[in-house]
Structures are given as C-alpha cells and as structure tokens.
C-alpha cells in the first residue's frame, strides 16, 4: 500500500473512532434523561426489577394523571409548586441580571479602588457550598419571619446568582471595544444612550446566557429551598419531589413524572434563548 492510501485508510478509521466516541459521550449525557422519561411511564415493578428491564413492556400515563388528580388520589399540588417555582426563578433571575449588568459593566469599564479585591470577594462567595449556609440562613430567616415566603427564596437566589452573573457579564462587556461607546457619544449619544444603543445589544447574547444560568440555578435548586419552604405557599418543584417519599416507600414513577414536568419548561426556555446566543457578533467592529 502506498503512503496516500495508508493515510486515507487511517483518516477513515479515525473518523469511525470519532463517531463511536461521540456516540458514547452522548449516551452518557442523555441516558439519565431518557431513563427518567421512561421511568415516569412504567410501573414500579418494572423500574425496580433486577436485572433491569431495558425494553419497556408496559407504558402508561397513569403517573401524570395521578399527579394532577388532586390530594387524596395520589395527586400533589403541582400547579402551586409550578407557580412558586416560576415566580421565584423569574423574579430572582431578573434581579440578578439587572445587578449583574450594573456590576459587570462597572468592573469592565471603570477603574476604582479595591476593584480586584471586590471581584475576588464576589468569587469567594461561590466557594461556600450552599448547603453549609442552610442552617444559618434558616435561623436568620426564622427570626425575620420570612421562612416559607417567595421573598425569602428570591433573596437567597439573588445572592446566589449575583456573583456569577457579574463575573459572566463583566467578561462580555470586556469584549465590546471601548471605542464603540466613545464613537456613539461623538455621534450624539449620552453615556446612557451609548450603553443601550451600542454596548447592550452587543453584550446581549452574553447577558442572555447569564440569564439562562441564573434561571436554571434557581429553577433546580433543592438544598436551600427544602429548608426554607414549608407549604404550598412557597414550595418549589424540586422540593415537591419529596412529596413522593413516604415513611417506608418512594414512588419512583411519580417522582420521575414530576421531574419531567420540571424539565420541560427549563428545556424550552434554553432552546428559545440559545438561538439568540450567536457568538462572534462583535466581529468587524474593529480591525482584527
């Protein structure tokens, strides 16, 4: 075989190995999700079977029907949980983004004293595991009387998300050349107009991705929410999963069904927003 055909065969073999590798990676990523969806449709016997039953024999929507059929018939207040989750996640995301934009812009554009110390300080807050905060938070919130309220949870999630959004948005504003805002000011904009007309649209995709992160963090958070919520007044969907655990049994099928209900909005939102996350939007602004 000459060298050319040797390389051709080599390239082909490499392509196949790539394909297999990618398939395995995708399998690892997707299998839990698929398993949750499948489990929500199968009877408990099949879920718990050993050895596992790979191909489902008996699919039904019983778990979903039960979930919505009200307390006493195996149902849980899923709509209340959904409403709580939505209110808490959306509000805390919006606030975190607003603060993140202001903070990120300041860090990206202005010079001020103790800037790097402050930035580092923000990052350090992320080193504390959330669960370690749950007990102190519980005491403080109990004293303040904001246990089991939307306000309490929103406060926690804003605090949780702000360092991250500041950090992320700072990076995106840094990528927008300073010249652009200056050019806009010369073109007649106020500082404020220059921001909204030029810098904001260019950092927009970055801000949107920071928003998704913040939303997903709040939407999926369990550890703190499980401590700080009590009733349908404020319980979120992840905490709602616990409703399927009784003293001696766990209703895996129901739990999986609720998990699916939880995943769908998050997935939809991510899908909608990711279309706008077009990278490289700033290319062509300046030479390079």
């Amino acid at each position: 075989m000459d060298q050319n055909s040797l390389h051709r065969v080599g390239n082909k073999a490499l392509g196949i190995v790539h394909g297999i590798g990618l398939f395995l990676a995708m399998l690892v990523i997707c299998l839990p999700g698929i398993w949750i969806v499948l489990s929500s449709l199968r009877p408990t016997v099949e879920i718990m079977a050993k050895p596992p039953v790979w191909i489902p024999r008996d699919l039904s929507l019983d778990a979903y029907i039960a979930m919505f059929s009200g307390v006493g018939q195996g149902g849980i207040p899923v709509l209340d949980y959904f409403r709580n989750s939505l209110i808490v996640s959306v509000t805390s995301t919006v606030i975190a983004i607003v603060i993140g934009m202001a903070g990120g812009y300041a860090f990206a554009r202005y010079r001020f004293r103790a800037k790097s110390a402050m930035f580092l300080g923000l990052m350090l807050t992320r080193t504390v595991p959330g669960i370690a905060l749950s007990l102190p938070l519980f005491f403080v919130f109990a004293r303040l009387g904001i246990i089991d309220t939307h306000f309490g949870l929103i406060l926690v999630y804003v605090a949780l998300n702000v360092p991250f959004t500041v950090w992320l948005i700072d990076g995106f504003f840094r990528q927008v050349p300073k010249d652009l805002a200056e050019a806009a000011q010369i073109d007649g904009c106020t500082r404020w107009q220059a921001f909204w007309q030029v810098e904001f649209p260019l950092a927009g995709p970055g801000i949107a991705s920071a928003g998704i992160f913040a939303f997903l963090t709040s939407w999926n958070e369990f550890a703190l929410a499980s401590q700080l919520t009590r009733s349908i007044n404020s319980k979120t969907l992840p905490v709602g999963l616990l409703d399927y655990t009784a003293e001696f049994t766990i209703d895996w099928r129901g739990m999986c069904a609720l998990a699916v209900v939880m995943i769908i909005p998050a997935l939809t939102l991510t899908f909608i927003v990711q279309k706008h996350l077009v990278g490289g939007l700033t290319s062509g602004a300046v030479k390079g």
Binding site: P177, D179, L180, E182, A183, A184, Q185, I186, D187, G188, C189, T190, R191, Q193, Q197, V198, P201, L202, L281, T282, S283, G284, A285, V286, K287
Partner: protein, 365 residues
C-alpha cells in the same frame, strides 16, 4: 466650520503630567496634523478636544466657544478612530445614519445625507452590508462616511490609516486629501507617520513628551527645524546628526575629522561651543549625482569609504563612513557602487543645520 484654540491645555493622571500646557490656534478649514512618537501626548490631546478625556487645566475653544466641560455630543465634532469603531450590529447604512437617528432627523433627511456621504466615498454598493463583511479599506471609508454625515465643525482623525497595509494606506491618504478638498472643514489629524503629516497637512504640530516642539507648514518643519528632535523626526531617511565642537571657524568631530563651519551660522557660534551638525541625505551625494546645484550653494568635497548601498530604482541610498559612523546620502541617477569604494562626496553646507548640543535648539539666527 470653525476655529479651534487650545490655551495652556494640560492633562495629568495623578502626579504624572502627559500634556504640559500646550497652546495651539487652528484656523477655520485648516488641516492640522499632530505628529510625534508614541507617548508624546498627541492622541490624548485629540481625545481632550473630542471630550472623551477630561482636561486637567487650560481652555479648549471650538468656534470661539469654550467647550471645556461639554460632553462630546455637544461639541459638534466627529471623529474617525484608529480601530474604525463601526457598530457591528448595524448595516453600513445604519452606521452612517446613526448620528442622525439619535438627533431625531426625519427619514428623508437621513436618506439624503447618507446617500450624499456614500456618494462621496463610493459606498453605494455596500449600504446593506455589515462591517464584518467589509475589507479594511471599506471599513475605513465607512468610518469617514459616518464622520461626514454629521456635518461637523471639526473632523478629528486618530491615526486612521495605521491599521491598513502600505498600499492601501497610500491610497486612502490621497482620498483623505481629496475629501478635505471637497468638504473643506477644519481637520485635526493625529499620526505617528511623518509622511502622512507632510502630505496631508496645511500645518504640522510636532509633539514630544507632552510639549509642542514646533508648529509650521510641511516646508517649514522640513527646511527650518527649530530643534534637533524635529530635524531627526521629519524626513525619511532621517537627517544625519552628529555632535561636534566649533574650533577656529571649523567643526571638529569626535574622530578628529573636520568640516568648515557653514557660513550662515558663523555669527551665532564661537570657538569651544558644543553643537549638533545636521545634514539631510539629499544634501550629501556622490559628486555629480545629486540635486542640481543652484546659485548660492556652498559645496564641500570630501572623499569617504562606502559601507552599504540600498538601490531603490530611481535613486540609491549610499551609506558612507564619516566621523566613525554611517552617513546616509541620496544618489540620484545612480552609478554602480560597492562597499569599500572610496567616493568623492559633495556636502552642500548651505543646507546644513546646527543645533545647540545643550538645549537642542537651532543656532540659526
């Protein structure tokens, strides 16, 4: 259209002053180039005129109106940035019309002025493209178009050509000159490239370390440099500059070699004065191969060894050794020469410059 005047303009960052109280009067419709090496304060000066940089002290007037504390938008200026600074999320048309949109102009007015500017700069075919789809030269033109559309009192250019390749730079230089001929407005143009400054400007301001070294027409700064720095900065290849001591009507160089003291300086120096002798490459040439001599020339002949030659086609730069270092000379109508040849050189001392070695100021009376 407007005059610009800088009075004792100062900029400091904390204790560090970068512009030291400069004074400059720019006439209406004048093309002024601020030129100097990096860090000389030229860009800072321009940004202060634009209002992008707060001034520490002094006064800036545009059209007779003090603008010290006015934001950029109230100064009726426009600026072309080195990086072009086009808005990447807008088409060329939107980029051009942005200032009018902000000002709330009517659609017809906007279309008319965008069409006018794109006509001047040949951008008609590109109006619906985005900056990322344009070449460097086209982006440069859009940046200029955006400046024209505003119909400003003063155009500010901040090294607009330094991101272009050599050929395009020459081409755009000509376009800027044509543009100024058409638009006839006051222009302040910052560059580190003395050729750009010489070719474009009505007057050149040479800056160094936050001070103005000299202001003058291209001809003045080339022929009558006021300081040693200006002499070395303007002109390519640069002027030959060498220290010497005046000794009994002659210039004594460190190597012991001597040249006659050019007659135009005789009245201003005396024996023992330390000076810097300067001669442009054009005024030193292999005998018979230089710029044809006029009436009042003062040519001194000296035989020197050639070290390197750089043929450029119509002329050859000859490096010849004198006073222990290479002196550049310009040989027109070149003859073949090689390293080591001893050549009779003509030094036109009537064109020589003499600066004080201490102050660097010219010793011309």
């Amino acid at each position: 259209m407007a005059t610009v005047s800088l009075k004792k303009l100062t900029k400091s960052y904390g204790p560090v002053a970068v512009v030291h109280g400069i004074d400059l009067e720019v006439a209406d419709r004048e093309f002024i180039a601020l030129v100097g090496p990096s860090g000389c304060g030229k860009s800072t000066t321009l940004r202060m005129i634009a209002g992008l940089e707060a001034i520490s002290d002094g006064i800036i007037e545009i059209g007779g109106r003090m603008v010290n504390d006015l934001p950029p938008r109230s100064r009726n200026i426009s600026m072309v940035f080195q990086s072009y600074a086009l808005y990447p999320h807008m088409t060329v048309r939107e980029n051009l019309g942005f200032s009018l949109k902000i000002a709330g102009a009517a659609k017809e007015e906007m279309d008319r002025r965008v069409a006018e500017a794109s006509g001047i700069l040949g951008l008609d075919q590109l109006l619906d493209r985005r900056p990322s789809q344009l070449s460097g030269g086209q982006r440069q033109r859009v940046a200029m178009g955006r400046a024209i559309v505003r119909d400003p009192d003063v155009f500010l250019f901040d090294e607009p050509l330094s991101n272009l390749d050599a050929k395009l730079r020459t081409q755009m230089r000509t376009e800027i000159k044509k543009l100024h001929a058409k638009v006839r407005s006051t222009v302040i143009y910052v560059t580190h490239d003395q050729v750009e400054a010489m070719t474009l400007a009505d007057r050149i301001v040479i800056m160094r370390d936050g001070f103005i070294e000299q202001v003058g027409t291209p001809d003045e700064v080339f022929r009558r440099p006021q300081t040693r720095f200006v002499a070395g900065f303007i002109g390519s290849p640069p002027m030959n500059l060498h220290e010497a001591v005046v000794d009994d009507g002659q210039l004594l160089f460190a190597s012991g070699e001597r040249l006659p003291l050019p007659s135009q300086f005789k009245a201003n120096v005396g024996t023992g004065d330390k000076v810097v002798f300067g001669l442009r490459p054009d005024d030193i040439y292999p005998t018979g191969h230089g710029i044809s001599s006029g009436e009042d020339v003062d040519v001194h002949q000296v035989e020197l060894p050639v070290t390197v030659t750089e043929p450029l086609g119509n002329e050859t730069l000859v490096f010849a050794e004198f006073n222990g270092s290479d002196w550049v000379s310009r040989m027109l109508n070149p003859k073949p020469l090689k390293a080591g040849d001893r050549v009779k050189m003509s030094l036109d001392l009537s064109q020589a410059h003499l600066f004080s070695a201490e102050t660097g100021k010219t010793l011309r009376g």
